[in-house]
């Protein structure tokens, strides 16, 4: 079969280019350490979220500068995240792991202008760890159509300076479970105190 020599060169170039694209992605995974959302978050029964870790979603402190945020996406808000449910408040310079699921339909969880972006699928948990730097405010937007008021589904993450952080409990407007909330507030105050000492 006759193939023009220009075409042979182009075929070789195209293959090199394709391998280059794949290598770039592989570099992103091993160099800067970008991880994909995967099956690590496990599954939950979306019809019985009350019996799971999503029963009382909110921020929890799990280590000195480590926090976990459980978020339930629902028509048409994030809990927490949407101001009516309490925005998400975390301290600056902390490592935060988000666990996101949906209690009704498929939603999106996109932190605007960042690389934090996932689908919130009923039955599945998106687990994502990010490192927050300086104090800032981020917007959260639902980027998957979820029903007639989809466009109203938004929220906020407030990264407060470590010295002003009052603990995870302060974030939770709908404190369903008093004991956990109180316990986490106490724990957070301790840590917040020690953090202040360190910075001072």
């Amino acid at each position: 079969m006759h193939i023009h020599r220009f075409e042979k060169v182009w075929l070789a170039l195209a293959l090199v280019f394709i391998l280059g694209l794949i290598s770039t992605i592989a570099y992103g995974a091993v160099g800067p350490g970008i991880e994909m959302i995967d099956a690590e978050g496990g599954t939950v029964d979306p019809q019985n979220l009350d019996e799971t870790e999503f029963a009382d979603p909110g921020v929890e402190q799990v280590g000195e500068d480590e926090y976990e945020v459980y978020v339930v996406a629902k028509q048409f808000s994030f809990e927490p995240g949407t101001p009516a449910n309490g925005v998400i408040r975390v301290p600056a310079n902390s490592e935060v792991t988000f666990y996101v699921t949906s209690q009704d339909v498929v939603h999106g969880f996109e932190v605007v202008g960042t690389n934090l972006n996932t689908m919130a699928i009923p039955g599945q948990v998106s687990k994502m760890t990010v490192e927050f730097g300086d104090a800032a405010t981020y917007g959260i937007v639902c980027n998957e159509y979820c029903g007639a008021a989809h466009h109203a589904m938004e929220g906020r993450i407030v990264v407060v300076p470590e010295s002003e952080y009052e603990g995870p409990g302060a974030t939770n407007a709908t404190s369903g479970n008093e004991t956990t909330t109180n316990a986490s507030v106490a724990a957070a105050q301790q840590v917040a105190g020690s953090a202040t000492e360190v910075t001072a």
Binding site: H4, F6, V9, W10, L13, F17, G20, L21, T24, G28, P32, G33, I34, E35, M36, I37, T97, V111, G113, T114, N115, L116, M128, T129, V130, E131, F132, G133, A136, Y138
Partner: protein, 50 residues
């Protein structure tokens, strides 16, 4: 300009213009890829690392 004038000449047709165009395209795409990936994407503050 009928089909029959094609023949011997066609065997030696070198699509040099096509090679030029495609070369320019490839260069643009490679530059845009580098910009999008390394500056726009990796330059963003929040990135999932775990």
């Amino acid at each position: 300009m009928s089909t029959e004038t094609a023949g011997e000449d066609d065997e030696h047709f070198d699509p040099i213009g096509t090679a030029t165009l495609i070369g320019i395209y490839m260069a643009i795409v490679v530059l845009m890829w580098i910009f999008t990936y390394f500056i726009e994407f990796l330059g963003r503050g929040l990135t999932i690392v775990g």
